[in-house]
Amino acid sequence: MTGISTRMPGEVVFSFVLVILSLVIFWQAYSISGFSSISSPGSLPLAASAIMVMSACFSFVKTLKKPLENHTLFFTHVLPPIVSIILAFILIYSVVLEKLGFIVSTFTFLVISIQFLYRKHFLITLGLALISLITVYVVFRLIFQVILPEGIVPEREIIAAIRNLFS
């Protein structure tokens, strides 16, 4: 994280992006109802975005004055490969969640991410992923009755068949 007297790599760009973002939002807020009335629907967004512009500019200037923290690199200390890779896993998981369904996509996500982060024998990873999946499924799908995407696995039919076996 950023220091008080030093800046992290990429902080200048980040602060500049915040200034630009704030200006764009200010313009968008202005386009709601302009300066027509101080109690108009756009008044609060305009005031909030004005604060954003001012504070972002202030932070940007302050960041420019700070020296760069020694021996720090953007892709090592701010966005290291481990974060980028995990983010990619999460994004892929979110994309396939509805198509493949909760069970298949979650199991795959857990196996890949646990193997990547925990780095133990693959069978241990498989077991851990399976236990995690079963726990989450039982707690949330069966106990909390949370609706989860079915995808390619006909969950309802399987649950009904299991219930029939015991009834």
């Binding site: 967004p45 974060v83 509805e98």
Partner: protein, 499 residues
Amino acid sequence: MFEALQYFSISWVSPELMFLTALGTFLGIYVGAIPGLSVTMAVSILISFTFSWDVNSALCLMVGVYMGGVYGGSRTAILLNIPGAPSAIATALDGYPLAQQGKAGEAIGLSTVMSVIGGFVGIIVLAVAAPHVSDFALTFQPRDYLLLGLLGILLVGSLSGGNMAKGLFAGAFGILIGTVGLDPLTAEERFTYGVVELWSGINPIAVMIGLFGITEALSQLHHMDKVAVKQRIDRLIPKWGDVKKYLPLSLRSSAIGVGVGSLPGVGGDIAALMAYDQAKRSTKNPEVEFGKGAKEGLVAPESANNAAVGGAYIPMLTLGIPGDAVTAVFIGALFIHGLNPGPMLMIERPEMFWFTVGNLTLANIFVLIFGLTGIRLFSKIVECPKGILIPVIFLLSIVGAYSINNSIADVWWMLGFGMLGYFFKMYGVPVGPIILGVILSRLIDDNWRRAIMSERGDLSNFFINMISSPLSATLLLAIILILLSQTPIWKKVFKPKNT
């Protein structure tokens, strides 16, 4: 009185509610203890899973997690020198040295009892003060609510990150997120860009899960290689002599905790640090020096942070203004269940207030029970490797966001805010004010416009009336003081000599 007692005991007489409170407290202790998991994160995720439940059941689980979580942070602070939650930062200062001296069990036992005492003080003050605050709040003008909302965001902005400009940016950004959708008064579109799905706004729960679930878990990936040093634990029940000796300090610290906790936007972390500082100043001859295992340094923050829970409920239930980030999430939960926290809640739904007081009391008792038992299981669970824990947090966050509306759009919002929150955190922009801004956006918007309309659009009248009303003037003064306190001139003039 009889009715109040009846409502108070709802969760005590229902086995289901009692079980949920116990479960919540148990889970909360572990959530609070495991570094990387936060109470705010857990409560945010829980809202999405429990919004279809009966309100009492959902609240029991969440109240338990809150109460247990605030206490749980102290355990890893004592055992591993890693505060499980920000409210346990001060606890580690003397708790860990005690553990290094082989007194981990004693420290955990003492911190448990003092946390529970603090919790009870907070609850008593809540029960006594909230009805009066609520009555008083009925006299509030819209401008007072506006000022209170702004005060809350300013306080959390100035205290959470240390950088006022970044705190202000975050608070204003949160307010803007809250304004997305159709204007509630005129139905005019705000930041919707013609997308019908945005008419109802961005779901605050998706924002919360993103900022507290994904952001936290991504940040934890930076510390995958940290190895914790294990401690041996023997007896957990504290000595009666110690409890008696430190009771006055515990009560004093609880008073600080409940007072600080009841300020809008200030939570248990600040309360604990202030109580620690007060204990350090007021203890003339400690048996052991502060910072080297003084029991006073353990008692003060632990009493204060649990007392702050009751304190944080006061502005939440009586004014609809969150006391800290967790109560901001609670307000979101109450809205989802059709309740409107504020002075009218006490009049229209008094049962909800007394139910909450009773439930907090029950959760506090469970803190005592779980706090003094199960240490072996605890040691096993907190040692759960991050390589397993982090993927499960991501999974719960995604499933939680999806289950709000069974819509993948909420997952995308959640991920977007999670990634944004990650960069915010990396560059020192606090995420707490964003959530407060989202929650308080509607209150600020409505009251700003009501206040201006009641003055027929005359801004000078608005300011004259603000200055002539003692309450508004006090709140305005507090806001000005907070802003001034962040200026270089103020810092230069009032800089403590010993720092």
